[in-house]
C-alpha cells in the first residue's frame, strides 16, 4: 500500500469515527428528556389522583449542575422532590394538584391568563382561599395546558416575606400554596408551559428555562 493510500485510509477512518461520535452526541441530545413521574394515588376518600409540584426561583446545583440559576418546576415522587416536568396521570379521572410556589412575582404579559380556567368549579385555592383569578402583576408563574384548556395562575411570594428560598429544594421557606382539581379526560400527550416571562437574563424573559424541556415546560401524559 502506498503512503498516499495509507494517509487516505487513515483520514477516512478518522472522519468516519468523528462522524459516528457526532451522530451519537446529536442522537443522545435529541432523545434526552426528563423522567416521567406518575401521579400518586390519593386516598379513596379524596376521589382522585394527586400531583404535587414545586416552583423555585433557582433550581440549584443539586438538581441542575449545568443551570443552577434557572427557574424551574419540580415534582414530588415517593416523598422526594424530583427534577422533572413530564407527568403521567390516569385518563378520565379527577386529578388533585398542589403546587408549592416559592418564587417572587414577575407579572403576566397577557392579563387574560390571570383567570383560572379548566378546573373543577373554575377556581383554585390560594393559601386556602378559593379564587377565580389573581392580580396579573402578582403572577409568578402559570401552569397551563392549552390543549386541555387548563389555566392556573400562581401568585408570587411577597418581596417583604422573610425566609425567601435561594435554591431548591425549598421546603420550609416562604411560599404560596395553590390547589386545584381537574378532570383528565381522554388519553393523550399534552404539553404544558409557564406563560410568565420568568427566565431571568433572557430577552423577553422567554429564553433559557422557558425554551428547555425540564424547567418551565413539559408534558402531561394522560394514560
Amino acid at each position: 500500500m502506498s503512503v498516499f493510500a495509507k494517509k487516505l485510509l487513515g483520514v477516512s477512518a478518522a472522519l468516519a469515527v468523528l462522524g459516528v461520535l457526532i451522530g451519537l452526541y446529536v442522537a443522545a441530545w435529541a432523545t434526552s428528556a426528563p423522567p416521567t413521574i406518575t401521579a400518586t394515588i390519593a386516598p379513596a376518600s379524596s376521589g382522585g389522583d394527586k400531583l404535587t409540584l414545586m416552583t423555585v426561583a433557582a433550581i440549584g446545583p443539586k438538581y441542575s449542575p449545568t443551570h443552577p440559576d434557572w427557574v424551574s418546576y419540580l415534582v414530588r415522587k415517593n416523598g422526594r422532590w424530583v427534577h422533572s416536568t413530564i407527568f403521567s396521570v390516569p385518563a378520565n379521572s379527577v386529578i388533585h394538584v398542589t403546587i408549592y410556589q416559592y418564587d417572587g412575582d414577575t407579572g403576566l404579559r397577557n392579563a387574560f391568563l390571570s383567570q383560572v380556567q379548566g378546573t373543577i368549579g373554575g377556581t383554585e385555592r390560594v393559601d386556602g382561599k378559593t379564587v377565580n383569578a389573581i392580580e396579573p402583576e402578582e403572577a409568578s408563574h402559570t401552569w397551563v395546558v392549552p390543549q386541555l384548556g387548563i389555566f392556573i395562575p400562581l401568585p408570587g411570594v411577597p418581596e417583604e416575606a422573610k425566609n425567601q428560598c435561594e435554591f431548591a429544594p425549598c421546603e420550609g421557606a416562604a411560599h404560596r400554596t395553590v390547589e386545584f382539581s381537574f378532570y383528565s379526560g381522554k388519553k393523550g400527550r399534552y404539553r404544558w408551559q409557564c406563560f410568565v416571562p420568568c427566565a431571568a437574563g433572557f430577552l423577553n424573559g422567554l429564553g433559557g428555562p422557558m425554551q428547555t424541556l425540564g424547567y418551565m415546560d413539559g408534558f402531561l401524559n394522560v394514560v
Partner: protein
C-alpha cells in the same frame, strides 16, 4: 426548442416532419390534459371553500395550474417523443445536424413566455386588489377594504398560544376562535413577544403576527365547519404545538357563544388593558 435538430425533414432521409407531427401531438395532449386539470385536479387543490378567500385561492391555483399545463405537456411529450423517435440506432454513433439560430422560433419563445409571465403578474395583482388581500395580512392600512359591516377580531400571538379578542363585545378575550358564517371578519393580527404567523388554512387566511404591528386581513366564512389555527413562523420550542381550534357557526350560535364567553371570562376581561391595535406589555423581562 432551439436545439430541435429535426424541425425539417433531412433531404433524402425519408424522415417525417417532426416539428409538425410533434406540434399536433402537443396540441392534442394539451386539449386532453386541460379539462382534467381544470375540472378534476383543480377542485382537489386546497384550501377548499371554507371562505370567500379560500375559494378565490382555489380558483387562482387552478388558473395557474391550467397555465402551466401546456408547458408541462410540452416538456413531458417532447421527452417521450425524443426517447422514441430520436433514439440512437444500435451499432451506430450518429451526430445530429449542427444547430443554428432560429430567429422566428426564438422570437416566438420570448414573446410567448414574456406574455405568460406578464399575464400572471397582472392576474395576481388584479386578484389581490379585487379580493382585498386574498386572505393575506395587508399591514395596518390595507389598500382595499371590503364594503359593509365587518366583525373585528384581534388575533394575539404569544409564545406559545393564540388568543382572540372581540372588541365589539366588550373586548372579551378567548382561546377559541369562533366566527359567524357569511359575515365579513376583519382580523387584526399582532404579537406580544416574537414574530409568529396566524394561519387558518381552511379559511385561506395567513398573516404575520409581529410585535408592535397591526396586520389586517379580511375573510368571509362561507361554510359551517371546524378548522385549525396554526403558527406558521418558527417561534421557539413549542412552535409545533402552537395551534388551536376554530369554528364557523351560524350568526345566532355565535351570539350565544360570545355572550357565554363574556359571562364566563368576566374576571379576566376586567383586568385586560383597554383594546388597542398593538400592545407593548410589561414586563419585557424579569426584574422590570
Amino acid at each position: 426548442m432551439s436545439s430541435e435538430p429535426a424541425a425539417a425533414p433531412r433531404e433524402g432521409s425519408g424522415e417525417p416532419n417532426h416539428a409538425v407531427r410533434f406540434t399536433v401531438i402537443w396540441v392534442l395532449g394539451t386539449l386532453i390534459a386541460l379539462p382534467i386539470v381544470i375540472w378534476v385536479i383543480g377542485p382537489l387543490i386546497g384550501p377548499g371553500n371554507g371562505s370567500d378567500a379560500a375559494s378565490d385561492q382555489g380558483t387562482d391555483f387552478t388558473v395557474l395550474a391550467a397555465l402551466a399545463t401546456p408547458v408541462l405537456t410540452l416538456v413531458l411529450l417532447y421527452l417521450a417523443y425524443a426517447v422514441i423517435f430520436f433514439r440512437q440506432p444500435k451499432g451506430g454513433v450518429l451526430e445530429g445536424p449542427a444547430v443554428r439560430g432560429h430567429a422566428r422560433l426564438q422570437t416566438a419563445w420570448i414573446v410567448v413566455t414574456s406574455t405568460m409571465v406578464l399575464a400572471v403578474a397582472v392576474f395576481g395583482t388584479v386578484r389581490l386588489e379585487s379580493d382585498y388581500g386574498s386572505g393575506s395580512g395587508s399591514g395596518p392600512n390595507p389598500l382595499t377594504v371590503p364594503k359593509g359591516p365587518k366583525l373585528p377580531v384581534q388575533v394575539i400571538a404569544q409564545q406559545w398560544l393564540f388568543t382572540y379578542r372581540y372588541p365589539t363585545y366588550g373586548g372579551v378575550e378567548t382561546t377559541e376562535l369562533v366566527l359567524p358564517n357569511e359575515e365579513m371578519v376583519e382580523f387584526h393580527v399582532t404579537s406580544l413577544d416574537v414574530i409568529h404567523d396566524f394561519w387558518a388554512y381552511k379559511l385561506g387566511v395567513k398573516a404575520d403576527a409581529n410585535p408592535g404591528v397591526d396586520n389586517v386581513a379580511f375573510v368571509k366564512p362561507t361554510k359551517l365547519e371546524n378548522f385549525t389555527v396554526r403558527c406558521a413562523e418558527l417561534c421557539g420550542i413549542w412552535h409545533g404545538y402552537m395551534s388551536n381550534a376554530g369554528r364557523v357557526v351560524t350568526p345566532a350560535a355565535f351570539e350565544t357563544w360570545i355572550h357565554e364567553q363574556q359571562k364566563r371570562l368576566a374576571p379576566a376581561t376586567k383586568v385586560l388593558p383597554k383594546y388597542s391595535k398593538t400592545y407593548l406589555p410589561e414586563p419585557t423581562r424579569r426584574g422590570e
